[in-house]
Homo-oligomer: 243 residues x 2
């Protein structure tokens, strides 16, 4: 189905720069965190203007592949391979309550599937790692008498990782930053997330028992409690508005 006559590329300077840079990263075996050559050096070595290099790097920065620090340098932020696919999503209106509910629906979908896959695939090491995160979370919960979003997030991430499919973690991580602020001070509901607490262990139990459908069901229950909390929070806000 490939176009038999692909348009010739007479000018694609910045794209060529990115391809060359991707090759460089691969050849030098750079890992996230390392610094790549300065813009001036790249411009000189690639025989292009520094502005062109900057446009290319701006694209990668927008994709979250690199991070630029003025005065310091440009650093690799994520693994880069030549056959990667860019999927820029722009979600309109994630700031209000409705937008938050929409993102939560996506999370419910992925959370349930990740838990099910995890129950099938997680080996002993992965199960142990999840249990470790679960213990840490429960410890934090009891000592501070409330949900801790940080430890909670760590637990879920360990599940995503053990699912054997890195896409789950990528997508949910990208969304996580989006509603992070809401997660912190969630609409004035004091014991936010309290109701979801017990389901973390039930999910783990189903995963450890290698029961995919059970894990899926428990994950759905967990998200349902979070949804209820959110709705309660929204109701609170309405009351406040009306006062």
């Amino acid at each position: 189905m490939t176009d038999p006559l692909p348009p010739i590329q007479t000018t694609a300077r910045d794209d060529a720069v990115l391809k060359a840079l991707a090759g460089f990263v691969r050849q030098e075996a750079l890992v996230p965190g390392e610094k790549l050559p300065t813009e001036r050096i790249l411009a000189e070595r690639l025989k292009v203007s520094r502005n062109t290099v900057r446009e290319a790097l701006t694209r990668w920065e927008g994709l979250g592949l690199v991070e630029r620090r003025q005065g310091s340098g440009t650093y690799l932020k994520a693994a880069v391979s030549p056959d990667m696919l860019h999927m820029p999503l722009t979600l309109a209106g994630g700031n209000d309550f409705a937008g938050l509910m929409r993102t939560l629906e996506i999370r419910r979908a992925l959370e349930a599937e990740a838990a099910a896959l995890c129950a099938v695939r997680a080996g002993k090491a992965e199960v142990a790692e999840i249990e470790r995160k679960l213990d840490i979370m429960e410890e934090a919960f009891h000592s501070r008498a409330g949900m801790s979003s940080e430890e909670d997030w760590e637990f879920h991430q360990s599940v995503y990782r053990a699912s054997g499919n890195p896409l789950f973690e990528q997508i949910i991580s990208a969304m996580h930053e989006l509603f992070h602020r809401f997660w912190e001070h969630p609409l004035g509901v004091r014991d936010f997330g309290h109701a979801s607490f017990p389901y973390h262990r039930t999910i783990f139990d189903r995963i450890a028992a290698h029961d995919p459908e059970g894990a899926r069901a428990e994950a759905l229950k967990l998200i349902a409690t979070v949804e209820n909390d959110l709705k309660r929070g929204a109701a609170n806000l309405k009351l406040l508005d009306r006062k």
Copy 2:
């Protein structure tokens, strides 16, 4: 849990440009397809260098919000609102069989949830629209004696739309082109997708009956058949390699 000392932002020129431009788009009520001011005009009006304008536009271009055509102008490509959230995803390695299976797992997660939500929310009009797409698909199936990926895709899209959450369609559409090439010539399996055909109607039945869990279950079955077809295809390829 918010960082008590967030880093201050002293300079954010291009970001400011984007914000100003977003405001401009909103004020002028520009819709996708319309042309926005030239870089030179923007630079003059915003009192910044044309380079800065270009960096900002490069970011938007990378996010798929605008399209630049040399000699013609810069055109709005998607709706833009000031409170939108960008979620650039870079998925490594979607070209091989394993990558395809990974994307399919994401699709299974979203498909099941979308079907369930659809069963809850779809009104009469949405159900009718889905049935229309289903009829078209079945018609194409019988006349051509095989699955038609185009009509099949249309059906699923109508389900995503009726879910009431645009994120489903956005995410899956972005991934769709990823495995589109595979979808066309699916690994040498002649009756690819054949097994999934009946589940389209069972999904629709569950949606029309407003049975979310039933719809979820049927959607899971459908994806399972596609997964099996894919595995068969992979086995075929292995045989071919060995010959």
